[in-house]
């Protein structure tokens, strides 16, 4: 006899559970962790290099770089002073909590103060797969266009900070900042945002100040 079984379980429940384990493990080891997400070419790796240049004199930092293939990004993070682990996702368009857990196994976690995770370049998939990091940061960039919050709402909904990179290109590109920010505001009211340029260094100070405040705040709670 066919019968109905009511379930009502989130499709991401297994991933969310592993993300919770990652979160407990990272906190226990005293790490502050940040998941950096963006489309391909938005400047994730450049921004991580800038961030490392500013923070490595004061903190011990691990970087985990997710890519479909190659270790170019991890090599760049290592060059910039982090201990880097590459995750090759083998075709998957995102890092999931299980992949992060395996990458954490390769690091002596208590050695570090900060973990920067560079997700796979993609504006759809990383939004759904929580990793268990303390903060989720989205990097948008001017050449992508001002309509991205409207086209990829899930990505903008649950992040804790937004970097708007390549602002040095604003004079050359039709990018309506008011339209862009209106979309952001609708999806994530009060989201803190930092217009930056990795090229000129503009705005990087404000991003680093925010990040250091978050790190200090996490130590006192």
């Amino acid at each position: 006899m066919p019968r109905k079984v009511t379930i009502v379980e989130s499709i991401h429940s297994a991933n969310d559970q592993l993300a919770g384990e990652n979160s407990r493990r990272l906190r226990k080891a005293g790490l502050f962790s940040v998941n950096m997400m963006a489309s391909p070419g938005a400047g994730k790796t450049s921004l991580i290099e800038k961030t490392l240049a500013r923070l490595t004199p004061h903190y011990s930092i691990a970087a985990i770089d997710g890519d479909v293939a190659t270790s170019i990004d991890a090599d760049r993070a290592a060059e910039a002073g982090a201990i880097a682990v590459q995750i090759n996702t083998g075709g998957q368009c995102h890092i999931d909590a299980h992949m992060l857990r395996n990458a954490l196994d390769e690091l002596d976690l208590p050695e570090f103060d900060i973990l920067l995770v560079e997700n796979v370049g993609n504006l759809i998939c990383p939004a759904s797969f929580k990793l268990g990091t303390d903060r989720n940061v989205l990097i948008a960039s001017i050449p992508e266009g001002d309509d991205k919050p409207y086209k990829y709402p899930a990505m903008y909904q649950d992040v804790d900070a937004l970097l708007i990179n390549k602002i040095d290109l604003l004079p050359y590109i039709d990018f309506d900042m008011d339209y862009f920010l209106q979309g952001v505001k609708m999806l994530n009211p009060g989201l803190v945002s930092f217009p930056v340029s990795c090229k000129t260094g503009e705005g990087i100070d404000a991003w680093i100040d925010w990040l250091e405040d978050q790190i200090k705040g996490s130590k006192t709670t």
Binding site: V5, I11, D96
Partner: protein, 114 residues
């Protein structure tokens, strides 16, 4: 290309609950997917047929219930939907202060077992 990962998660949840209920076979799955949650296309059914071979889910049919996004304006309190799939300020008072009432759902609601 996250559909494979999502399909595996759906199968894991369905098989776990099916086994708890001593099911010989799962014939139907009812999924609820909000307009603002993960993009899921027809490739899920394709992956489903591949990965559920020789499991109690083999041959089961996937039913998707799509839930439209609904927003409530924080200024005038009226509710509205996406316009042609695109986010918009409140069509009644133009405010961009709004809350998402529904559209973020992404869960397995129920299964039919034998």
């Amino acid at each position: 290309m996250h559909e494979l990962a999502i399909t595996e998660q759906i199968a894991e949840i369905a098989i776990r609950h099916g086994e708890q209920h001593q099911a010989q076979k799962i014939t139907d799955l009812y999924l609820v997917i909000g307009e603002l949650s993960t993009v899921v296309d027809d490739s899920v059914q394709f992956y489903w047929d591949l990965i559920t071979r020789d499991t109690i889910c083999e041959g089961a049919e996937l039913h998707f219930k799509r839930v439209p996004a609904i927003f409530r304006c924080q200024e005038c309190g009226k509710e509205y939907r996406l316009a042609d799939g695109e986010l918009q300020p409140c069509p009644f008072c133009q405010s961009s202060r709004m809350e998402i009432v529904q559209g973020k759902e992404f869960h397995l609601d129920s299964i039919i077992v034998e």
